[in-house]
């Protein structure tokens, strides 16, 4: 459909198509032996087949990736398009650190919404585990504001540990409160066959695991993962014609924060999340109370605590108690990370934001198995880059095709 509005005394006409996801696929997340292109193509094939389309129907490709150079491949979009047999289809590769997937998804969404394309591929991919933990840690540190952070000795666990200390000091939370997040996400991830770490853990396990950067321990941290996730996005008309089950994207928001932790007035909140959520809720015409479950960016346990406050699910300072009381479990009032989250499902950073959308698609089309959130109709995804310097939030609605 088209819309008219007046901006600075000028009449503006723009297209606003409803945007839907009609197909989704992921590789397993973990240590993968294939090349980064093979990993990407595997997820693309799954998404294309689940949508019931052929690659010839794809009009553009949006690819998110951060460290392709580590597997000797940048300018990835045309390579992926060529190997899908559609070398004439334009592609775009987007990087926004750990938030690359959602930021890229936003661009894919916007182009379909604007009416430029009827059907696009949104694909995220990463491969880093072959570089080893020490070098992966170094690569990730380049996503920080390096002069102030990585260059002064802070790893990413260290940066989030500094946020954890600030949060614990301000809101009297404990290390056990953080551990509860890990335990819950591993419970969910145990039921996800594509999760990197399918293992249930206890609070005691977390507390006794080695310290990486105090107060965070190794079991407070997500793993380095390889993997890819892909979604086929299209116009509502295209989705209806497909005859396939689909999910509608009803909200999309972006936000930004000072790049360095030191630049934030309050280190216990992430401004980019707050802004992105506000924009997405406004676009969808709903509030946090309307969300049935959410996939959020839990790269470290403290991140999930901060996220679920910034997204409006719990008041500031109350998230730790909510997690402790079970409010975020699969059967809780607002299930968080039914997929297992970054913590258990894994964190192939270019793919993570897309993987969250795949989880929503799986949940709404009967593919989530034992981790299904019963009765869910509205879901939210939240993904950020670095310590939250950039973020995107999307909101989805289940479409009943009975």
């Amino acid at each position: 459909m088209s819309k008219l509005f007046i901006f600075k005394n000028v009449l503006v006409l723009y297209m606003t198509e409803k945007v839907c996801a009609i197909g989704a696929g992921s590789t397993k997340y973990g240590k993968l032996s294939e090349s980064i292109i093979e990993i990407a193509l595997s997820a693309a094939k799954d998404a294309i087949e689940s949508a019931g389309i052929t690659p010839k129907q794809i009009q553009a490709g949006y690819i998110s990736n951060v460290f392709g150079v580590a597997d000797k491949q940048v300018h990835m979009a045309p390579v992926i398009m060529s190997n899908l047999g559609i070398s004439q289809v334009p592609g775009l590769t987007i990087e926004s650190a750990c938030g690359s997937g959602s930021v890229m998804f936003r661009e894919a969404f916007a182009n379909v919404a604007a009416g430029f394309y009827d059907c696009v591929l949104a694909l995220g991919v990463e491969k880093v585990t072959h570089t080893g933990t020490a070098h992966s840690t170094t690569l990730f540190s380049y996503c920080s504001d390096f002069f102030y952070e990585g260059g002064n000795g802070a790893s990413f666990p260290g940066l989030f540990a500094s946020m954890a200390r600030a949060y614990m000091t301000t809101h009297k939370a404990t290390e056990e409160d953080l551990a509860n997040v890990a335990v819950k996400n591993h419970e969910n991830g145990f039921h996800n066959p594509k999760a990197h770490v399918r293992k249930k853990i206890t609070v005691d396990d977390v507390m006794k695991s080695p310290v990486v950067a105090s107060p965070l321990k190794i079991l407070d941290c997500c793993p380095f993962s390889d993997g890819a996730s892909a979604v086929i996005l299209c116009s509502e008309e295209f989705a209806k014609k497909s005859g396939k089950p689909y999910v509608e994207v009803i909200g999309s928001g972006r936000g930004a924060s000072p790049a360095a932790v030191q630049g934030r007035e309050d280190i216990t909140t992430i401004p980019s999340t707050v802004a992105a959520a506000k924009a997405a809720y406004k676009m969808a015409g709903i509030t946090a109370k309307d969300i049935d479950f959410a996939e959020v960016h839990d790269c470290f346990t403290i991140a999930e605590i901060i996220d679920i406050e910034d997204l409006g699910f719990f008041p500031k300072g109350k998230a730790a108690k909510a997690v402790r009381d079970g409010a975020t479990r699969l059967d809780g009032e607002i299930p968080i990370n039914p997929s297992g989250g970054l913590k258990s499902k894994g964190h192939p950073i270019g793919a993570t934001g897309v993987g969250q959308v795949v989880e929503v698609f799986d949940q709404f089309t009967g593919r989530a198995g034992e981790r299904t959130v019963n009765g869910a109709e509205i879901a939210l995804t939240h993904n950020f880059g670095a310590t939250g310097a950039s973020a995107a939030v999307h909101i989805f609605k289940k479409v009943d095709r009975k």
């Binding site: 002069f147 802070a154 790893s155 600030a166 080695p210 950067a213 105090s214």
Partner: protein, 127 residues
Amino acid sequence: MSEAKHGIREKFIEAANRKKILAHKCSKCSQLMLETVMFCEKCGASKFEDVELDGKGTVVTYTIQAVAPEGFEDAGSYAWVVFKINRTQLRASGFLPGVKTPKDLPIGAKVEVTGFDPKHGLLLKQD
């Protein structure tokens, strides 16, 4: 852009080696920012006056890096610290060696800049 030798970061490092933090003060609205900001975050102006702040402050938050990243393996036990610079609302961050447990560094502890190390960045010590 000027060569690194005379770049903004080089000026910051030179000041740090004199135990100072180099900041930008907006010529239009007097907003104080760290030296790497090129346009005033408050009013958008691009003219600044260099201000050398006394490199002393109080700890806002920190971590003790039990697993040191590459380049810091030889640093011993240390903290990465965010500190508020005295008599300003500005915050900076740096490398504080010799911190082994949180008991060594309560929030609000006093720290000061002692220099800039090419390997470890902005060096701090507890006041």
